[in-house]
């Protein structure tokens, strides 16, 4: 299928200011999109409030608006550009590509749909339509959709009374349980109950705090293994997996704050293929017609149960990582697919001979480690949870996980040359330890139990203090495979230390 000839101009919405959770990766994706579509001869209109971006360089778009990314403002831009296209005598139409500027672009596009702006000016959304974005973004609709196509999601139930709450808890059958009161501001009154007593207290309080006296009770996935799939789809419904990612940190830590590894390391082919099939089922059911999506899964470590957590119907933070990890330029290809190309019509940038309709296969391991800056945010709670706190990341490639991890740790620019054994001291709170000091067991246990920026280093301290792999697993739920890899690094450190003259 050739590219669409009925399009004259493409409006691309950028991601705006750099904030935690939405950083320069969306400048990267947006810039790729501008280049890819301009190459095809389309007129590019770009709106981004952040002038400190590559994409706002004049050469990347035909018209660049450095204006607030608000529905009001973008509506004015659409009005002005519609007029401009008339003046130019444009034969084709104006389309909006909302999937390359992060959540900001997606939300703005959805607001424009709701305001009726797109209908009013006859602007078509390409990449993903409004209904698909809605299905992917609304948790409740998404969950029902997943169940309707036979995929598994966390078990949950709604209760209006304490008796009903107990019945739902009974049905789920295991702790911990997550309690979310309906319609409270910022989720006030919610929490995780680890046992029956806590559950009774939280359920009662949740029911009291909820203005409609209703709570949602959901099974907790804390400690489950977390995986991600980067999927691409074209207009002819060809689907490929660009990259599979396994999180070092189990469920409970935001993916943006997790150490992540590509490709997946601890799934058998049978499990991996089920996850691959599920990824395609999700992108098809949600209805993302072309381009990339990111789908997240949780897997129970003891019985392999696999549940869908969420999907992003757009190029995501992980896409930038996956692009660099595999050499498959996700944003560029997503842009080309949005204007009608098929995967087998686009050349693979790496080989230059084979088409983009393939699945990258890696003969190396990629590790991404988040970079935190808690020293600059004295007020912030350094415990990692489901809200993203990292301000950047380092990524490294190696032929083994150990090599890529060590390189990534060194690349963090936190003054360490790797996991440890580099002669640098450790500053923990107000205490300073020498590099090869054995830290107190009690301190180590505490820092292993609740996820934090230094947890990976505390695994080294734990191994050196005589903690067994199984003991560390019980405290962290980090897969034993990763822990043994760290142990191998520590073993080499010990060997080197012992051989010093």
């Amino acid at each position: 299928m050739p590219k669409r000839t009925d399009i004259h101009s493409v409006l691309i919405i950028g991601a705006g200011p750099i904030i935690i959770g939405q950083a320069c990766e969306f400048d990267y994706s947006g810039t790729q999109a501008c280049k890819a579509l301009r190459e095809e001869g389309y007129r590019i209109i770009l709106v981004n409030s952040n002038p400190a971006t590559i994409m706002t360089d004049p050469e990347f778009a035909d018209r660049t608006y450095i204006e607030p990314i608000t529905p009001e403002c973008v509506e004015k831009i659409i009005a002005r550009e519609t007029e401009e296209m008339r003046r130019l005598g444009a034969k084709g139409r104006l389309v909006l590509l909302p999937t390359l500027g992060g959540q900001t672009a997606l939300n703005t596009a959805m607001a424009l749909v709701k305001r009726g702006t797109l209908d009013k000016y006859g602007v078509e959304m390409i990449g993903a339509n409004a209904a698909a974005i809605q299905r992917g973004e609304d948790r409740r609709i998404f969950k029902d959709l997943m169940l309707s196509i036979g995929l598994d999601v966390p078990v949950s139930g709604v209760a209006d009374t304490l008796e009903e709450s107990r019945a739902v808890a009974e049905k789920i059958g295991r702790f911990p349980l997550i309690i979310r009161p309906a319609f409270t501001l910022g989720g006030t009154g919610g929490g995780i109950a680890y046992n029956r007593e806590e559950f009774e207290v939280m359920a009662r309080r949740g029911l009291e705090l909820s203005p409609v006296s209703e709570i949602l009770i959901e099974e907790s996935l804390l400690g489950w293994k977390e995986f991600e799939m980067e999927v691409m789809r074209d207009k002819a419904d060809n689907c490929v997996i660009i990259c599979s990612i396994e999180n070092f940190d189990p469920m409970g830590v935001h993916t943006g704050d997790s150490i992540t590894v590509a490709p997946i390391q601890t799934l058998t082919d049978k499990e991996y293929q089920i996850m691959r099939d599920a990824s395609f089922a999700v992108i098809r059911a949600v209805g993302v017609e072309t381009g990339g999506s990111n789908i997240q899964f949780a897997v129970h470590p003891d019985n392999g149960r696999m549940v869908i957590i969420e999907m992003n119907p757009r190029v995501s933070r992980s896409s930038a990582l996956a692009s660099k990890a595999t050499g498959f330029p996700i944003a560029k290809i997503a842009a080309k697919l949005a204007v009608g190309y098929l995967l087998d019509e686009i050349k693979n940038d790496i080989t230059r001979e084979t088409p983009a309709s393939f699945e990258p296969t890696l003969d190396y391991v990629v590790t991404k480690i988040p970079r935190f800056a808690f020293e600059k945010f004295a007020q912030a709670d350094p415990t990692l949870n489901t809200q993203m706190k990292s301000v950047g990341e380092a990524m490294a490639i190696g032929r083994t996980f150990k090599e890529s991890l060590q390189k990534a740790l060194r690349s963090l620019e936190i003054g360490r040359h790797g996991l440890g054994g580099d002669g640098r001291h450790w500053r923990i709170g107000n205490d300073v330890y020498q590099d090869r000091d054995i830290l107190p067991r009690e301190l180590i246990s505490r820092r292993l139990t609740s996820p934090n920026a230094e947890r990976i280093f505390f695994i080294r301290h734990a191994l050196r203090a005589g903690f067994g792999v199984e003991e560390i697993f019980q405290l962290t739920k980090i897969d034993r495979w990763f822990l043994v890899q760290l142990k191998e690094i520590v073993d080499v450190e010990e060997e080197l230390a012992a051989s010093e003259p």
Binding site: A236, G304, S357, L362, V484
Partner: protein, 382 residues
């Protein structure tokens, strides 16, 4: 323990031994799949080959009794970058090293598999010798050089089941792998559809997942040895014939080509996979040739020229059908997008089709599973 892998070009890779204390010769080939080493090891098509994985970390999830494609591993040796010191998966029953040791297969780890793969890509498949015993590098290279190679050798006879048998009469081995779900403690498998279409499958070294898939699609599968004649196969009164995958050089299987030619003349519907596709190609009057380094992996793009759809497929073949040698009543309907070689054939007037890749996957993507339903449909409409 030390191990080494020597190639006929004189290069030697030194590494650590795992698996059995053993040695063996084989054609060294690489597989690009990132998952599924156990399925690869137990695929009879790898008879006579020493396999290296481009994926560097192997053994992470161990081995289990379900993920097998035959009764035992068939590779002559296994060469990898790094063997996992730990097994971490809820399905694991044993470690890869113990498994290979149990089956007498030598493994080597800690070698530069990227350098090895590059060599194979440039030079083409090379004969090799692997040993986990004490042996000098010179002697190892001599062993690799003196091995006659697999061109012109019939490996099918060593892996075909010698006697005919009916696949899974009790319906206990054909369920697809399932995960536990939601509130259920264990997944209750949906019943298999009735086995209402009898077919005969020629076993040239057939992967179990082909049999499982056939059964899942309602076929009652009578398996016959590779050497069976057309008359023997037709004596079961099959509604269709299936031709399996298998190892080695397709050009030496005169007996199989003769049987298939007779079956084509008979008019019975036929579906072939991999070696079965190459045998069909020859029975049509075409020729096969050896690819430089073969297609082995789970990410090979195949284009269906009639629908325009692209399937990501699992492949394992070192030979291919030469399209120029095919008669005009046979259509090439699928090609590999990486090198444009033939991946599928269809007869214009008869109920015959075949694919060079593995729609049964295992390991690999499930994109091509619908081909089994297509076979059923073809028989229904014949």
């Amino acid at each position: 323990m030390n191990a080494l892998l020597a190639l006929e070009d004189g290069s030697v890779f030194h590494g650590r031994a795992f698996g059995a204390s053993a040695e063996g010769c084989g054609e060294v080939c690489f597989n690009t799949s990132m998952t599924g080493y156990q399925e690869i090891l137990t695929d009879p098509s790898y008879k006579g080959q020493i396999v290296t994985m481009t994926c560097p970390l192997i053994g992470n999830y161990g081995v289990n009794s379900a993920d097998v494609e035959s009764w035992q591993p068939h590779v002559a040796g296994f060469a990898i970058r790094e063997l996992s010191p730990v097994v971490s998966n809820w399905r694991a029953q044993s470690s890869l090293s113990d498994y290979l040791a149990h089956h007498g297969i030598p493994g080597i780890d800690g070698i530069d598999t990227r350098a090895l793969t590059k060599k194979l890509r440039v030079r083409g498949a090379l004969n090799g010798f692997i040993s986990t015993r004490a042996i000098s590098a010179e002697e190892a290279v001599a062993r690799a050089k003196s091995w006659p190679g697999l061109v012109g050798v019939d490996y099918v006879k060593t892996v075909t089941h010698p006697k005919p048998f009916l696949w899974d009469e009790a319906d206990t081995q054909s369920q697809g792998f399932q995960l536990p779900r939601g509130l259920a403690a264990a997944a209750i498998p949906a019943p298999l559809p009735p086995a209402d279409i009898p077919i005969v499958a020629f076993d040239y070294g057939m992967k179990y997942n082909i049999l499982r898939r056939l059964r899942q699609h309602g076929f009652k599968v009578q398996v016959v040895p590779a050497t069976a004649t057309a008359a023997e196969a037709l004596s079961y009164k099959p509604a269709g014939i299936f031709l399996s995958n298998g190892p080695g050089d397709p050009a030496v299987l005169g007996y199989a080509v003769r049987a298939v030619r007779d079956l084509i003349d008979n008019g019975v519907p036929i579906f072939g996979i991999c070696l079965g596709h190459q045998i069909l190609g020859q029975a049509f009057g075409g020729k096969t040739f050896k690819l430089k380094f073969g297609h082995r992996g789970a990410n090979q793009p195949v284009k269906d020229l009639e629908s325009g759809r692209v399937e990501i497929t699992s492949q394992n073949h070192g030979f291919a059908v030469d399209p120029a040698t095919l008669p005009s009543d046979v259509v090439v309907d699928r090609i590999n997008l990486n090198d444009q070689t033939v991946e599928g054939l269809r007869h214009k007037t008869r109920n015959i089709f075949c694919v060079q890749y593995h729609p049964e996957a295992s390991p690999g993507p499930h994109d091509s599973t619908p081909l089994f339903a297509q076979f059923r449909e073809m028989i229904r409409n014949s």
